[in-house]
Amino acid sequence: MRIVKLKKEYFHPFLDVISRQAELWAPVKKGDKHIFDRVEDFNRIEMKTTRTLLPPKKLLVPPAFNTFTFNAEGYQEDLSHVSSKILFGIHPCDIHGLLTLDKLFMHEYTDPYYVKARQKTLILGLSCWPDEYCFAKSTRTHIIDEGFDLFFTDLEDFFLVWVGSSQGDDLLRMKPDLFEETLSDSDIQRYIRWQTERDKAYRTEINFMAMPDLMELKYKAPFWEEAGRACLACGSCSMVCPTCNCYNVLDKLALGGKPGRRLRLWDSCTLVEYSEVAGGENFREHKADRLRLWYTHKLQAYVSKYGKPSCVGCGRCLVTCPVEINVRTISKALEGEDPKAFWYRLPSEVKP
C-alpha cells in the first residue's frame, strides 16, 4: 500500500479541492460530544475526537428514511439519502463497523439502499487515541488495512496518508504537489514510536477469545435475569452500535390521492416488538432473553460465522446505556466477576 506524507498546512487546501467533488462530512462538536456532520467551513472539523454519538452507519442507512412511495398503479423508489459523500475522520473501529455492515448488506442478500449509498461514499480514515472506554485493541479493530480510500495518521505537524483504493489515489491526483512521496527516516521513526505508544494507551481490555465459550457455558447464569430486570428496554445500545443493523418497515398511507410511503426505521432486539409474531406470540417476552440474544450476536454467533466478534470495541454502549449494561460489564459477568454495575446493585436497593 502506498504511503505518502502531507504537511499540516496543506490539509485544508486538500479538503478544499476534494470537497468540490462531493459533500464533505466530518466530526464536529455537538455540545461537548461529537457527531458526523456536513462541513463547508473546515475549521469546524474536530481532529482529536473519540467516538461520535452515532457511528457513520447513519449516513449509509439513515435512522428513519423512506424507501419508496406507492399508489394503486405501482411504486417509485426513493433514494434521496444517496448522494456522493466523502467521509473524513472515521476511526479504525468505525471502518471495521462499516466492513461488518458490508458483509451483511452487500453479499448474500444485497440491500440496494445500502449498496447504492455505500458505492457513492469515500472513506477517509483518521487515526485516533483511545480513552478509558475504547477497547478496540481487544477486538483487533484498532488497526485497519482495508475498507478505506485514504487513511490519515496524525503525527502532529504532518500526516502519513495510506492510499487504500484507486479512488483514494484519484483524490491525491487532484492536487499531487501537496503530497511528498519520499519519507525520511525520522518520519518513519516518528510513526513507529507513535504506533507503539498508542498501543500501550488502551486501558480497557476484554478477553474476546473466551467469549464464545462463556456465552455457551453461562447461558443460564442468573446474572442475565438481573440485567434483564435493570434494562430499560430503551434500544439505545443498538442505535449507537456501529454493527447493529436490524430495521423495521412501516407503511404510511395518505389521504386525498397522495402516495403512501414505506419507511425503514432502525430497530433493536432489546425492544418488545422485535420478536413478536402474528397472533401476538412473543419469542422473547423477557428482557433477559433479549439481552442474551444481543450478546450472543456480538460475542458468539458472529464469531462462528465470520471468525471475529461483531463488536468493534468502539465503547459506545459503555458510554450510552444509562444502566451500565454493556460489553464490558456483561463480559465481566460472564467471567464470573461482580462488575459493580448499576444492575448488580439494583436488587439489593429495591425496597419499598
Binding site: 430499560l232 428496554a233 434500544g235 439505545s236 407503511d251 418488545v272 450510552t320 446493585r345
Partner: protein, 260 residues
C-alpha cells in the same frame, strides 16, 4: 355520501379538548378526512351530530364523572372499533395523578367543599380501559398530527394502526442527542411512549413524560437510577406520576409503602 365509507365519531370526555382541537387543526387535510370518512359525530367541528352505529369511535378524555362513564359505555356499545386518543384517554391524564383513593376523596372535599353535585357524580379519574375494551391507543398530550393521520388512514384502509411501541429514547437516538439522563438530568424518556420525535431532548430539555407510559416502562430501574444520581425521592415520584395516570399506581404505592 357513498355507502361504504367508514362511519366515524369523535368524542370528548373529561380533558382539555386538545386532541379534538388537534384534529380540527389538520386544516389542509380536513376536506380529505371528511371525503374519506363519514364523520357522524364531532362536536367541535359540526352541529348535525348523529349518535348511531359507528365503525370507529375516537374518544378523548378520561372518565371522571358518572356522565362520562355512561357516555363511554354507550359509545362502546355502538362502535366496532374504539380508539383512545390522547393521554387522558390512554392513561388517565394529569387528573388521574391522585393515586390513593382516600387521597382523591380528601382532595375532592378540599377543592369543592360540598361534594354532592347536582348534575352528575364525580368519579376518581381513570383511563377508558378501566371500564371498556379499548382496541387501539393513540398517545400524546395532545396527540401528534402525523401519528393521528397515519392512524386514521390505516383504519380507513382496514388495517390496525402501527404506532411505535418503544420509548422516547429510540427517537432521541435517531436525532443524535447527547443523553440528558447520562448527564445527570432527570429525563423520563425511558419510561415514556415514543411518537413525539423526542422533541424535548432535541431542544436540550428533559422529557417530562407527556406521551404517557411506554409499554415496558421500567419504573423500578429508573427510580433506582435517579436515586443513585442523588435526586429526592418525592421529587422523582412527583415527576414520574405527572403524566403516568393510573399506570404508576402500583409502583408508587410500593415505593411509598401505602396499603392499597
Amino acid at each position: 355520501m357513498k355507502k361504504d365509507k367508514l362511519k366515524i365519531g369523535i368524542y370528548e370526555l373529561t380533558g382539555c379538548a386538545g386532541d379534538a382541537l388537534l384534529i380540527l387543526d389538520c386544516e389542509d387535510e380536513l376536506i380529505n378526512i371528511f371525503h374519506a370518512a363519514d364523520i357522524r359525530s364531532f362536536l367541535m367541528a359540526k352541529s348535525d351530530n348523529i349518535d348511531g352505529e359507528l365503525d370507529v369511535a375516537l374518544v378523548e378524555g378520561s372518565v371522571s364523572t358518572e356522565r362520562d362513564l355512561q357516555e363511554l359505555l354507550d359509545i362502546r356499545k355502538r362502535s366496532k372499533v374504539l380508539v383512545a386518543i390522547g393521554l387522558c384517554a390512554t392513561a388517565g391524564g394529569n387528573q388521574a395523578a391522585f393515586l390513593d383513593p382516600r387521597e382523591w376523596e380528601d382532595n375532592l372535599k378540599k377543592v369543592y367543599g360540598r361534594t354532592e353535585m347536582t348534575h352528575t357524580k364525580p368519579l376518581q379519574s381513570k383511563p377508558l380501559n378501566a371500564y371498556v375494551k379499548v382496541d387501539h391507543y393513540l398517545p400524546g398530550c395532545p396527540i401528534d398530527r402525523e401519528q393521528f393521520l397515519s392512524t386514521l388512514t390505516r383504519l380507513l384502509a382496514g388495517h390496525p394502526p402501527e404506532l411505535h411501541r418503544f420509548p422516547v429514547c429510540v427517537e432521541c437516538k435517531w436525532r443524535e442527542n447527547d443523553c440528558l439522563l447520562n448527564r445527570g438530568i432527570l429525563c423520563l424518556g425511558p419510561l415514556t411512549a415514543a411518537g413525539c420525535r423526542a422533541v424535548c431532548p432535541s431542544h436540550n430539555l428533559p422529557c417530562v413524560g407527556c406521551w404517557g407510559p411506554a409499554e415496558e416502562a421500567n419504573y423500578t430501574a429508573e427510580y433506582q437510577l435517579l436515586m443513585e444520581k442523588g435526586f429526592d425521592r418525592e421529587m422523582i415520584l412527583r415527576k414520574m406520576s405527572t403524566f403516568s395516570g393510573t399506570a404508576i399506581a402500583d409502583f408508587a404505592a410500593r415505593i411509598r409503602g401505602v396499603k392499597k
